[in-house]
């Protein structure tokens, strides 16, 4: 009863752990297990911080970040700010397998994903749209701006650099998971 293999993941996302374990049990590699495990949360959204329909940006759009690393070859595939593609870690796996790069970002990453056979679709949901409209109704608080006009701690943008750059404390005073995180 060896302690290996081992599957370990952040937060109590049980289905993801189970999927990774089943992948190993059915002969898959460690990389396959990580991909399948993380993909479960992209489908099920887990606690809302993974996958479509969560964490809208200032424009109300949900975009995805993901990476996968093979500790044997030290190969890495990653996507940042991936738009309109649900299976981000699947695209990251394609970056690892089919390019010599490490990280693709934004609309270009979406074009790469389409060329690899992934389907483009809207990642917004009623939930993410409601989150966004509530945020707009709260004068866009909290937000991630500082040293700008109008005062980002009181008003929405668009913002311009403040003429005399005065050091601003970050807009959100209290940190913690109620303000969202990675």
């Amino acid at each position: 009863r060896s302690p290996l293999p081992l599957v370990l993941n952040t937060w109590p996302f049980r289905d993801a752990t189970e999927a990774a374990w089943k992948t190993l049990a059915s002969g898959g590699s460690a990389v396959d297990a990580v991909e399948n495990g993380c993909a479960v949360c992209e489908r099920e959204q887990c606690d809302g911080t993974v996958g479509f329909g969560g964490s809208p940006d200032e424009l109300g759009e949900t975009t995805l970040d993901a990476m996968i690393m093979d500790g044997t070859t030290m190969d890495v595939g990653a996507v940042g700010n991936l738009r309109r593609i649900k299976n981000a870690i699947g695209v990251a796996r394609k970056v690892l397998e089919h390019t010599t790069h490490t990280l693709l970002a934004g609309e270009s990453a979406t074009m790469f994903a389409e060329s690899m056979g992934f389907t483009k679709e809207d990642l917004s949901t009623n939930t993410s749209q409601a989150l966004h409209s509530d945020w707009l109704a709260r004068n866009c608080q909290p937000n991630c701006w500082r040293n700008v006009i109008p005062d980002a701690s009181k008003y929405c943008g668009p913002y311009k650099p403040r003429g005399i750059l005065k050091r601003d404390a970050p807009t959100y005073k209290e940190t913690g998971d109620n303000y969202g995180h990675d």
């Binding site: 993941n9 996302f13 190993l24 495990g37 044997t72 998971d177």
Partner: protein, 141 residues
């Protein structure tokens, strides 16, 4: 965010992340999750680690890489994870973050930065000793 590490029987390691990032981020913002060494890291000669939390801060300290390097020197996974959190605490005492670590023998650990609203961190573990997916918690430091 989900961060996952796998240590396989033959000593093969892998790590990965997936997230939709920070709420209400500026359009185009990318967090720590897709950055190798920040969001996750794996090396068959040392171990694997993954992180979650305030990506704008975490990204600057490469917590996953640093944890793996601590384990390379023989540090226990829990200690490696705690040391990484402590390094960041010095600069950003109120950052929101947690790390999971696993070494090549299948030992594992986790650590998190204590905040009024975040005192414990839950993670999942599955190996033959558990024979089912098991939630574990650590107290933040």
């Amino acid at each position: 965010t989900i961060g996952m590490v796998v240590i396989h029987k033959a000593g093969h390691t892998a790590a990965g992340t997936s997230t939709n990032g920070l709420k209400f981020k500026i359009h185009g913002r990318i967090g720590d999750s897709p950055i190798p060494g920040a969001g996750a890291y794996a090396d068959d000669t040392a171990g694997a680690a993954a992180a979650t939390g305030d990506g704008d801060i975490l990204m600057r300290f490469l917590p996953s890489y640093q944890a793996v390097e601590y384990m390379r020197t023989g540090e226990d996974p829990t200690i490696a994870c705690r040391k990484v959190i402590s390094r960041i605490q010095k600069y950003f005492p109120n950052f929101f973050g947690a790390v999971i670590c696993a070494n090549l023998t299948g030992s594992y650990g986790a650590a998190c930065n204590k905040l009024p609203t975040f005192t414990h961190f839950s993670f999942m573990i599955y190996n033959y000793l558990k024979n089912q997916p098991t939630e574990e918690k650590v107290s933040c430091i």
